[in-house]
Symmetry: C2
Subunit: 309 residues, 2 copies
């Protein structure tokens, strides 16, 4: 970080970190110190790498502010997937020497926007400048609610598979500007016994497959039921909107397992303001399947749909 060096940048950061009752010692010591929680603690981390996870220049590029927001939001989405409450984050940066401090400041403002929206304290980090591309690594802490964390492991054959929102085409914008479903997960967790949950980052089919693998079961998705985002219809690349919805990823919606009774109640109530709950399938004993009309075909975790033989 030129123009004053890392210490000047860190001073700038520290001046922008508000006091927080949960934080006993914030940035500027060897470690942050937080008040102990009383509930199970959640920890997640995500690293965003320039050129691989985002571009800063050219077509499809993102602003530093958007990258900062996304770096925090992908972690928030992981906490949401456990129906947890996010609490505190640390942020490590590898800043390109040539683009300097303005980039670091914009990044931080984006990180703060996403953190502030969910009451997360930024309590520390490690700021480096180097000759490589931009690297942003965020570790987010959170805690489970009194109902405990929702893992990927509890789905059972017969459970219904529900999702928030719609899928596909996130590359057209949503992958950078999404709302992590932290509040929605809380509301669902209060109303129903969520047996297993995941946030959809790898793709709907892949992430439902993760739920199945961890739970030791299978799932059937009904093609007609999958909510397809309008953006998935706007990509003319030979793949159908359904294939985009099943395979694209970075939707950052929730997919979860509940009992049929609780699922029916949730679907009737639709308790999430502005976010539709949809019943897209059921958990079964084994396999990953797509049902279209009366046909049931194998579904690849990548979202590829096998032709009917």
């Amino acid at each position: 970080v030129p123009a004053g060096g890392e210490f000047a940048y860190i001073s700038w950061l520290r001046a922008r970190i508000p006091a927080d009752a949960r934080v006993l010692v914030g940035p500027g010591d060897d470690t942050a110190v937080l008040r102990p929680g009383t509930r199970a603690q959640l920890v997640t981390t995500d690293m965003l790498l320039e050129g691989s996870c985002f571009l800063l220049e050219g077509p499809g590029s993102a602003t530093p502010r958007q990258i900062g927001r996304k770096a925090m939001a992908v972690n928030l989405s992981d906490i949401a997937a456990m129906a947890g409450l996010p609490t505190a984050a640390v942020v490590s940066l590898g800043l390109p020497r040539t683009r300097g401090r303005a980039l670091g400041e914009e990044l931080f403002l984006g990180l703060r926007e996403a953190a502030d929206a969910f009451g997360v304290a930024i309590v520390g980090g490690d700021t480096n400048s180097w000759d490589g591309p931009l690297v942003v690594s965020v570790t987010l802490l959170g805690e489970a609610t009194e109902r405990g964390p929702v893992t990927r492991r509890g789905a059972k054959p017969g459970d219904w598979l529900l999702v928030t929102g719609a899928f596909g085409g996130s590359i057209l914008g949503k992958h950078l500007d999404f709302t992590p479903r932290v509040c929605e997960a809380q509301q669902l967790h209060q109303r129903a016994d969520l047996r297993a949950m995941i946030d959809v980052s790898d793709g709907l089919a892949a992430d439902v497959n993760h739920l199945c693998e961890e739970s030791g079961c299978g799932a059937v998705l009904r093609a007609e039921a999958v909510p397809i985002a309008p953006e998935a219809r706007r990509i003319a690349d030979g793949r159908s909107p359904l294939e985009h919805a099943l395979g694209d990823g970075e939707d950052f919606e929730l997919a979860f397992a509940v009992s049929p009774d609780e699922a029916r109640a949730l679907l009737a109530e639709q308790p999430l303001p502005g976010v539709l709950l949809t019943h897209i399938g059921e958990f079964v004993n084994a396999g990953l399947w797509l049902e279209q009309g009366s046909e049931r075909r194998a579904l690849e975790p990548r979202g590829f749909v096998h032709a009917i033989e």
Copy 2:
């Protein structure tokens, strides 16, 4: 990560992560889940970047195993500086696509070596491959002891400044293969009221200066008392061994403030097996000073000693 992709590497990792009673959910879910602690929680993070923090090729290069160990050990050193107990870590990697999986495996084995030595559970992470250089980011959690964390803020004029070990020349090897002073900090914290502490990473003068800034006081170091590592005498670059000891950094020793009475008791007892405690100066009202014989000169935080005028 070619040859099987990231999922295969992650499976390899998961098979090498032992069960741990503190860990309710380990790698493989959206977040790790840890049992809540009862004491103040510590969080620290460090990012190591190839070409800036280490080299993988050429003179002065490190093995992937050493880099893994160091990435964990620098964080352990931060927990030590709070007199804390390390508990759990998450690890994010940016792996160069061309060097692939062997690099990732060696790194992980190094991370595990350092983690195992201090009872740290590796509970999650984020593994990416990209076209950039190697990036390793570790976030380490810990907890304070029943005496509470030792910050940088509590030094008072009149306190003595003590250090563990010797300083300078770490670039000749110690910067890669050091023992973070986790156990030593525990032992000191049981025996004495440590008023402020830091681990020496930026350099002895710079880090004593950090203690002074955070505590709102100054310090005088006595040149004759500073323990100089043999390696500091082996670098023939025109700077004196003392200047190396004051300025080099990455010694990963502890510098701390205690009352004169407690300092005398510690120095007489020398409670740390194989690690010498040395009294190198005192805290004063303001300034950073080096005393040599009867002369007192300003000491630059970078370790530069001003000539006597």
